[in-house]
Assembly symmetry: C2
Homo-oligomer: 437 residues x 2
C-alpha cells in the first residue's frame, strides 16, 4: 500500500518530510573495489580489461576483439524488425530536431571603454558513452546520449557496453548506427569507465563520459571526475503526477506504473486536489498492476515508495512539487501552462493528459536523461551544452586599458598580488610616455 497523505491533516508535514527524506537507494559502498579496478586498468591497460571482462561478463576475448567489427554491427542490426527500426529512426529524428535548437551562439561586442568582449562555444573533442548491458539495454538511452553529442559537434564518439555471456542487443547497435557511432567496445562496469578516462592500447581516452550504469559505474564516474568530465550521477527515477478535474484514472494509473516498473527503487507520486480522483487512481493501479509483466518490480516500487497526496488546491500542489523537485512532472489539469509556470524545480514537465511521460522517454524530442533525487533544484537534464564548453574572450585597446587598468592595479594591490599590478602598470607607463611624447 502506498502512503496516502492529506494536506488538511495536522500530521501532513511530518509525513511529507519523511517521504521526502526517505532513502530509496541501498547504500552499497563499492568505492574501494572500484578504486582497485581503476588502478588495475591504469597499470595494465588492455590486459586488465580482458581479465575483468572475462571475470564479470564471462566473456573471454583478446584485446583486438573487444571492439565490435563493422561486420558484426551489420549482422546484428540486420536482425532488427522493420517496425522497430522505423520507430527508432523516428525517435532519432525528433531527438535530433529538438537538440539542434539548443545550440548556443557565440557572442561578441565592444563596450564604451573600448574592450571587445564575448565568448565562444566549442565541442569536447572526444566523448565516451556508457550503455548498460544485459536486461537493462535501452536503445533509447543511446540516442538520448549520443545525439546531443553529435549535434554539439563532438568529433570522436565511443560506446562501451557490456555483453554478459556474449549477449548483444541489436537495437542498441542500431541506435549507435543511427547516431553515427561505429567505435563500440564490449566492455562494461568500472573497467569501461577507467578505460575511457585513462585510455588503454585499444581504447583511446576521451574527455567526457556520460550515460547511466549500476553502482560500480556510478562510483567509477565519481572517481574519474576531474580527469574527465562526467554527466550527472543518476539516482532512481521518479514521477510526480498532479491531477485535477475530470481525468481518466486508468491513464494516470498507467503513468504511475510506467515509472514504478523501471525498478523497485523508483518512485511514483500522485497529487490530486480531489479525494475521489485519488481513490479512483489508486483503485486503477491495484487493478492494472497484476496485468503487468514487470508486476513484481512495479509492485515493490508502488508499495515501498508510491505516494498519494490529496491537496487543497493547485497552489498547494505547486508548492509541494517545488519541494519534491521531481525528475518528471506530469500536469493533468485544465490549464497545464498556468500550473507549469508555478512549478519551478523539475527536470521535465509534461503538459496535459495527452502527454504521457512515456512519450517523453522515447519520441517527443526532449532528453530523457534528467536530474533525479531532488537535484532538479540545481541541475538540468542532458543537452548539447554537456558536450560543449565556453571560452571567454577579451581584447582591450590601449585606450581601454588606460581607462580600466588603474582599477585592476588598485585591486591587485589590495589583494597583495604585486606582479598582477605591475603587469598592468608596465603597459600603462608606456601609454603615458607615448601620451607625453
Amino acid at each position: 500500500m502506498p502512503i496516502t497523505l492529506k494536506t488538511v491533516d495536522p500530521d501532513f508535514e511530518a509525513g511529507f518530510v519523511r517521504m521526502l527524506s526517505a532513502k530509496r537507494e541501498g547504500a552499497t559502498d563499492v568505492n574501494d573495489s572500484v578504486a582497485a579496478i581503476i588502478a588495475d586498468v591504469r597499470a595494465r591497460g588492455d590486459a586488465a580489461l580482458c581479465e575483468l571482462t572475462a571475470r564479470f561478463d564471462r566473456l573471454d576475448l583478446p584485446a583486438d576483439r573487444l571492439r565490435f567489427s563493422a561486420a558484426e554491427i551489420a549482422e546484428q542490426t540486420a536482425l532488427v524488425p522493420a517496425e522497430d527500426r522505423a520507430a527508432l529512426t523516428l525517435a532519432a529524428e525528433r531527438i535530433r530536431a529538438y537538440h539542434a535548437r539548443q545550440m548556443p551562439e557565440d557572442v561578441s561586442w565592444t563596450d564604451p571603454e573600448g574592450a571587445t568582449l564575448g565568448w565562444r562555444w566549442t565541442p569536447v573533442s572526444a566523448a565516451g558513452l556508457y550503455v548498460p548491458g544485459g536486461q537493462a539495454a535501452y536503445p533509447s538511452s543511446v540516442l538520448m546520449n549520443a545525439i546531443p553529442a553529435r549535434v554539439a559537434g563532438v568529433e570522436r564518439l565511443v560506446i562501451c557496453v557490456p555483453t554478459p555471456d556474449g549477449a548483444v542487443s541489436p537495437l542498441v547497435l542500431l541506435a549507435a548506427q543511427l547516431s553515427g557511432i561505429d567505435e563500440i567496445y564490449r566492455v562494461g562496469g568500472a573497467q569501461a569507465i577507467a578505460a575511457l578516462a585513462y585510455g588503454t592500447a585499444t581504447i583511446a581516452p576521451v574527455d567526457k563520459i556520460t550515460g547511466p550504469g549500476n553502482a560500480y559505474v556510478a562510483a567509477a564516474k565519481r572517481q574519474v571526475f576531474g580527469r574527465v568530465g562526467i554527466d550527472m550521477i543518476a539516482g532512481p527515477s521518479e514521477v510526480l503526477v498532479i491531477a485535477e478535474g475530470p481525468q481518466n484514472p486508468e491513464w494516470l494509473a498507467l503513468d504511475l506504473l510506467a515509472q514504478a516498473e523501471h525498478d523497485a527503487d523508483a518512485q511514483s507520486i500522485l497529487i490530486a486536489t480531489d479525494e475521489a480522483l485519488a481513490h479512483a487512481v489508486a483503485g486503477a493501479v491495484d487493478r492494472l498492476l497484476p496485468t503487468l509483466p514487470r508486476a513484481e518490480i512495479a509492485g515493490a516500487s508502488w508499495r515501498d515508495h508510491g505516494t498519494i497526496i490529496v491537496a487543497r488546491d493547485l497552489d498547494e500542489a505547486a508548492d509541494l512539487s517545488n519541494r519534491i523537485a521531481p525528475e518528471h512532472l506530469e500536469l493533468c489539469v485544465e490549464n497545464p501552462e498556468a500550473l507549469a509556470a508555478r512549478c519551478v524545480h523539475a527536470g521535465a514537465i509534461f503538459l496535459g493528459a495527452h502527454t504521457p511521460e512515456a512519450v517523453g522517454d522515447y519520441v517527443s524530442g526532449p532528453n530523457h536523461v534528467l536530474p533525479t533525487a531532488r537535484s532538479a533544484r540545481f541541475s538540468s537534464g542532458l543537452s548539447v551544452l554537456d558536450f560543449l564548453k565556453r571560452t571567454t574572450l577579451a581584447r582591450l585597446t590601449p585606450g581601454a586599458l588606460a581607462r580600466i587598468g588603474p582599477a585592476a592595479v588598485r585591486l591587485a594591490s589590495a589583494e597583495g598580488l604585486h606582479a598582477h599590478g605591475a603587469s598592468v602598470e608596465a603597459r600603462l607607463a608606456m601609454l603615458n610616455d607615448r601620451g607625453t611624447e
Copy 2:
C-alpha cells in the same frame, strides 16, 4: 630554472608529455577527516560548527554570533579607502554587464506533428558562496561568484568566510555588500560546506555551493555533491602566453610572474616562435623576480613548473595550446583573432599585448573562475548558467499523440517496459474510439 623545450628537438615530445602529466598538487588525502566533520555538523548542527570554529579558527563564538551583524558589516566596510571602493565598484559593474548578456532565453515551438516543445530556465533558489579567509581573502572572487548568481536571479545568497583569530577582510565584506549579500557567516573549512549543504539551526541549507577553498573545502564539496550542486573543483592556476613578433619582454615576463605569484603550484608557460624573444623573456623574469614581494612563491612556481617552449610557427603553437588546454591563454601576436580561432580548448583567451591576464582577474568583465588542470577540454568557467537550471517542456495534442505515440509503444515493447507502452496505448485507444464514433 624553468624547463626549456624546442619543438625542433627530437626529444621534444617526451619532454612535453612529461610537463603535461606532471602533478602540481600534493595529494593530501583529507577525505576521512572531512567525512567526520560533515557527519559531526549533520549530527550536532550549530554546536559542532561553534566547536570546530573554536578549534580551527581560534574563535570562540556562540551560534547567534556566527553571522555578521549589519552593524559589523557597516563598521568594517567603512574602513575601505575610497579608491579601493571605486575600483571594486567599477569591477562589479563590469562583471555585472558581462554576465547579464549570458542570460539564456526560454524557447517554445510547435512542430508539424502538433507537439509543442521547448524549455525554460529558472534560477536555483538558494546558493552558498565559500570565500577563503586569512591571507588569501580575495574580494574579486566574491564578485566573480556572487554577481553571476545575482544576475541569474538566485533569491537567497549566503557567504561563509572563515575569520582566523577574528581577522576580517573589509574588502570582502564590501564586495559582498556590492553584490547585495547580507547573510555572511564567519565559518570556514569543511564545516562551512557541511552547514551549507545540510543546514543547521543558524544556517539554512542551500541548493548550490560555489567558490574556491583549500584541500578540506575541496574534499567537502566533492562529498556533498549530489545533495547540492557544486561548481568545479579548482586546481592550481595556470597561464599560457603565446608570443610572436616584436613584443615587450618585460610585459610578458610580468604576465608569467603574475600567474606564478598565486602559489607555488601555479604554472606559467611561454610559447614563442622566436628563440631570441624566449631568451629575452626568460631574462626579464630573472631580473624582475627578486623585486616581487611574493618572490619566494613566484620563484618556486617558476623554478618547478615554469616552462618555455620554442615552436616553429603559430600552427604548432596552437596545437600545443590545445593539448595543454590552459586556464588562461594570452595571445601576444600580430593577429590574435586568427590564432584564437585555432585554440579550441581554453578557459579564457586574452587577445593582444594590451590585454594582460591581470585585467581579466579584476575588471575586464568575464569570470575569473576558470577550468584548471586541462579541464578546459570539457568544462567552462563560472557563468550565470551555473545558477540556472533548464526544465524541458512538452505538450502533445491528441493528434500529435496519434502520430508519434505508436513509435513510443513499439520502443517500449522492445525495451520490455509494458506499462510505458500501455500508458500510451490507453490514450490511443480512446482516440481511435472517438475517431470511429
